[in-house]
Symmetry: C2
Subunit: 415 residues, 2 copies
């Protein structure tokens, strides 16, 4: 079963916002066996939307549309869909009740533009929007399904999980798609490919292998397509196991999770705790960790010691060390990690200090110079890394490198 | 001048990665007056890529392709482009020299798959990839320009800035597009629309206004299209000034920057400093701030006090306060913000404590309960907010609310 996603909105086409909706929708649809043929972002323009609908209809069975359903004047999706199906807009009672209830809840007067949000093409079923005023719409036309949802991510997500996915599952007879992902760290794409070339060559035609490299990590994704769920799972798992065995030294997780989640799961299983002393990563590692539910079982907290003052007062880094070796040095990062272990009373600690850039480098320590230390009571490992001059990349690469080092220490330590 | 972006890769269509490249490219192209007509994500499939190329060629003058140029077997873009133009692949000396140089630099053996990366369609000009082994490709065919680049973001970005954008500017005579964005916080989209309806109605046809709502913020974007750059700038600025005057009480910035950047710029101008005490936001506010160059002028640092232990030891929150009122309470957040001001020696401080979820709520304090305090030496403001049960949203909304409160305090305080 093939689907297409059409996102509507000039804000995507001028690059003001990143289209995160489509990836989320694609992942959810894949989970229930619906493959996405194409994702298209088009402008708030009637003719362009009509063309996109016609093209998608030729290629796919299910067409999902997001965006262009807000209350303001730049939203034309609804009218265009009505024109596409050659039907009128009519006021829908359920949608109106929802709009009225939401405005009542927030004690806000109902404006005429809000009332207009309850108008929908007459051939649709309304999908209730529990998080906003714009109704979703479901159309069955000539054997195809069209679903239109608002572009506000949490409104769309709720509609998908609450209504759209259950309804698609109950309406359609779907084939199976099984994905299995192996997260590796510390080895390049082509070296991995060489190591597992014979396994890849032996894959049956209904299983595909993809390499997804990102910042020192490579995800290996096996995808199996077919009718027989049990056979498919067995075969995908069989080949995944062969790959894991072959490249075991660089495998961080055997599922599609980020490295910090793999670490959290592992540490949680062992009952050990973590703290952080972040300088150039500026809270990014803490953020990566704390976005995951349950992280408080493992993560005690940390300090973002941007100023030297905080390195001294919170971590106990010696003023003399900062003076003699500088904030970005082996000596400082070792005192930072020791201070985190001691002051935050965790079993493991990670410290990062570096020059994220774009300014602040010296001939000695150019922008992109980063010292990372990971430690537990009986062992500390420190490493200097040299990245480029792009701030965001340096922050991300430092964080992933620090997590990789922690992952290695945890496994070496037999935790 | 119209362009289209085609991103190639199953990883986008199964939702494993978010397509951030397209937004970045679109913004850069807009800056030089090239409008994006459509962004399409298609699969690693020859026929599908051929169709996408043909469709884009019908609509646009410039077709930019990313993805599918890595060294591994799942990459077929290059061969498909050669087939599309009906030309052969040939080894390119510059591209090969680049591959050899990169492998030499990292002291790695050159594999056969890497050498194959130097093969390109014979009708292309090679775009040097200084950050990787896959060459970019530029084609001039039948009055259209085709540009193919790797999907790895920093490789693509470097090629765009270093080669593609300068070459497009020197080759084409481009019209002007002027965008002007006003960032507002604390008022909904439809209320803003009501307040400026007459201004919007008076806009000339060559200026469009868009509302871009996100998490309690609404960006108002004016876009002017035309030939006369000076007139266009004047007119866009004139209407922007009218809007800013009308809704001055909710304007946080008169440019397209995030709220934390507006705050950093403002505080930097006043020479005042900031520290943070983050509990449920888990370092996210610190990360938002420290992703901006120059943030160290304003931001001294902060603590991610996930455990009660750190709230006591680093911030000086009283054990009795935590015991009597709990970690998520007015009393605790007031002690947290006072502790940050005192211990981190900053002029302003922000503290956040809450229950991000999905678990950990009580009937009294359900998931989504968040206390935020902002303070300076002579004033502290604390507020309780109640969000939903979605962890990531609660973290983001808490962060944006905290920054909004800080923004208000800064401006009220006459800083």
């Amino acid at each position: 079963m093939l689907a297409e996603i059409i996102t509507i909105g000039d804000e995507i086409l001028i690059g003001q916002i990143v289209d995160t909706n489509s990836a989320w929708m694609a992942a959810r649809l894949n989970d229930i066996g619906i493959r996405i043929k194409q994702i298209s972002s088009v402008s708030d323009d009637k003719q362009h939307i009509l063309t996109a609908l016609a093209e998608a209809t030729r290629r796919a069975d299910i067409i999902l549309i997001t965006g262009g359903l807000g209350p303001t004047k730049d939203d034309i999706t609804k009218k265009t869909i009505a024109e596409y199906f050659d039907v009128k807009l009519v006021e829908n009672k359920d949608a109106l009740d929802n709009v009225i209830a939401i405005f009542a809840r927030y004690n806000r007067p109902l404006l005429e533009v809000n009332r207009l949000q309850a108008q929908v093409p007459e051939n649709c079923e309304v999908i209730l929007n529990k998080n906003g005023t714009a109704p979703g719409m479901w159309f069955n036309v000539d054997g195809k399904i069209y679903i239109s949802m608002p572009g506000v991510p949490h409104e769309m997500m709720y509609m998908m999980d609450d209504t759209v996915l259950p309804k698609l599952k109950s309406t359609l007879k779907l084939p199976f798609i099984i994905h299995k992902t192996i997260l590796t760290v510390g080895e390049g794409e082509s070296f991995l490919a060489e190591r597992i070339a014979d396994i890849e060559d032996s894959l049956p035609s209904y299983i595909k292998l993809a390499y997804l490299p990102k910042l020192g990590q490579v995800r290996l994704r096996l995808s199996g397509y077919g009718e027989d769920e049990i056979l498919l799972k067995d075969k995908v798992n069989e080949f995944a196991a062969k790959i894991v065995e072959r490249v075991a030294n660089v495998v961080a997780a055997e599922e599609d999770i980020p490295i910090e989640k793999a670490i959290l799961d592992f540490m949680s299983g062992k009952g050990v705790t973590l703290s952080l002393a972040e300088s150039c990563t500026g809270g990014y590692i803490a953020h990566l960790i704390t976005q995951h539910p349950g992280s408080s079982k493992v993560f005690l907290g940390g300090v973002v010691s941007y100023s030297n003052g905080l390195k001294e007062s919170v971590l106990g880094v010696k003023n003399a060390t900062l003076g003699q070796f500088g904030a970005v040095s082996r000596e400082t990062v070792m005192e930072m990690v020791a201070g985190a272990l001691l002051n935050f009373k965790s079993d493991y600690a990670v410290a990062v200090t570096g020059i994220a850039g774009p300014d602040g480098g010296t001939p000695d320590k150019p922008v992109g110079t980063v010292w990372i230390a990971v430690a537990t009571i009986n062992k500390t490992v420190a490493k200097k890394l040299t990245f480029g001059n792009k701030r965001k990349q340096n922050i991300e690469r430092s964080a992933i490198s620090a997590l990789s080092m922690l992952n290695t220490l945890l496994h070496e330590n037999g935790e």
